[in-house]
């Protein structure tokens, strides 16, 4: 029974992931990713991780993806490449490489005998996770480091998002290659190349 649910959620996740990759409009892509992440949250529930399922919904599908959508809309990014199925060599090469990576993963994984997981659910609740997290000194150290990382990312984001001074703008204009200046002047330019 659980396997069936697992497969169903898995199909949803894979389908949405494919939709995200192939969507021409980033907004649709972002929405597909939200659904994908939500499906993964379901998988987490099946895999004895209800806390993480909750985090998945709250942090990923909730906070992070909203941030994506917000930025996509802020920048007014609608569509990108001119072709849906680019017959570009780099597309094919990308697929080949990605496939090779997957194959190598599977090859490695199937070489190892995976013992069967214990029967029945063993739910780790908040207490269980938190106990491990805050008692192991190594993990504790990582938490501290992550705190610093988050702080730095906040500072960085604020710094990058601030209004540049006139001098800096001038400097950036100066640095800018001459070619991109002419193409990038249109006020409401789409993200990426305009359609042919």
């Amino acid at each position: 029974m659980s396997l069936v649910i697992f497969v169903v959620f898995g199909c949803v996740a894979v389908g949405c992931a494919l939709a995200m990759v192939f969507a021409r409009n980033p907004v649709y892509g972002a929405i597909a990713l939200i659904v994908c992440l939500a499906a993964l949250a379901g998988e987490y529930l099946l895999l004895d991780a209800p806390l993480l399922a909750a985090f998945q919904i709250l942090v990923y599908a909730g906070a992070i993806m909203v941030l994506y959508l917000f930025v996509i809309m802020l920048l007014n990014v609608r569509r990108e490449e001119g072709c849906r199925w680019c017959t570009d060599w780099r597309t094919y090469l990308g697929f080949v490489l990605a496939g090779l990576i997957g194959l190598s993963f599977l090859f490695k994984a199937s070489n190892v005998a995976h013992p069967a997981p214990p029967v029945g659910f063993h739910v780790y609740d908040v207490t269980g996770v938190a106990y491990t997290m805050f008692t192991d000194p190594t993990l504790l150290f990582i938490i501290e480091a992550l705190g610093v990382l988050l702080l730095m990312s906040v500072v960085g984001a604020i710094y990058l998002g601030r209004r540049f001074s006139a001098e800096e703008e001038l400097l950036m204009k100066h640095d800018r290659p001459a070619g991109s200046n002419s193409t990038g002047t249109a006020g409401d330019a789409p993200c990426g190349e305009s359609a042919p």
Binding site: A49, D88, L97, A98, G102, M133
Partner: protein, 100 residues
């Protein structure tokens, strides 16, 4: 009964899709979203192993990865906004500020 191998299959498929997204898409935001997908694929594998070994540490690491992903998204998106402000594009084929 869900076997670990099932989880790994799903994880691998998602990872491949994410990798392919990073490689073939030119829109920076979509590339970043593909990276998120890859991270999630890894999370899935970690949870599967945590279940197999009855060790909650795997789940703790998933929390860490989520945190890192959040930080990454914050910085990444801020960078995109900044780049877009003066390049007026997010096409990674057009942005070559890193060159030399």
């Amino acid at each position: 009964m869900i076997q670990t191998m099932h989880v790994l299959w799903l994880s691998t498929i998602l990872f491949v899709i994410g990798t392919a997204g990073v490689l073939i898409r030119r829109n920076a935001i979509v590339m970043l979203m593909s990276v998120e997908l890859m991270l999630n694929a890894v999370n899935l594998a970690l949870i599967g192993f945590a279940r197999q070994f009855r060790d909650v540490t795997g789940q703790v690491y998933v929390i860490f990865i989520m945190t890192v992903a959040a930080a990454e998204v914050a910085i990444g998106l801020a960078l995109f906004v900044a780049v877009f402000r003066h390049k007026r594009t997010l096409d990674t084929q057009k942005i070559d500020l890193l060159r030399w």
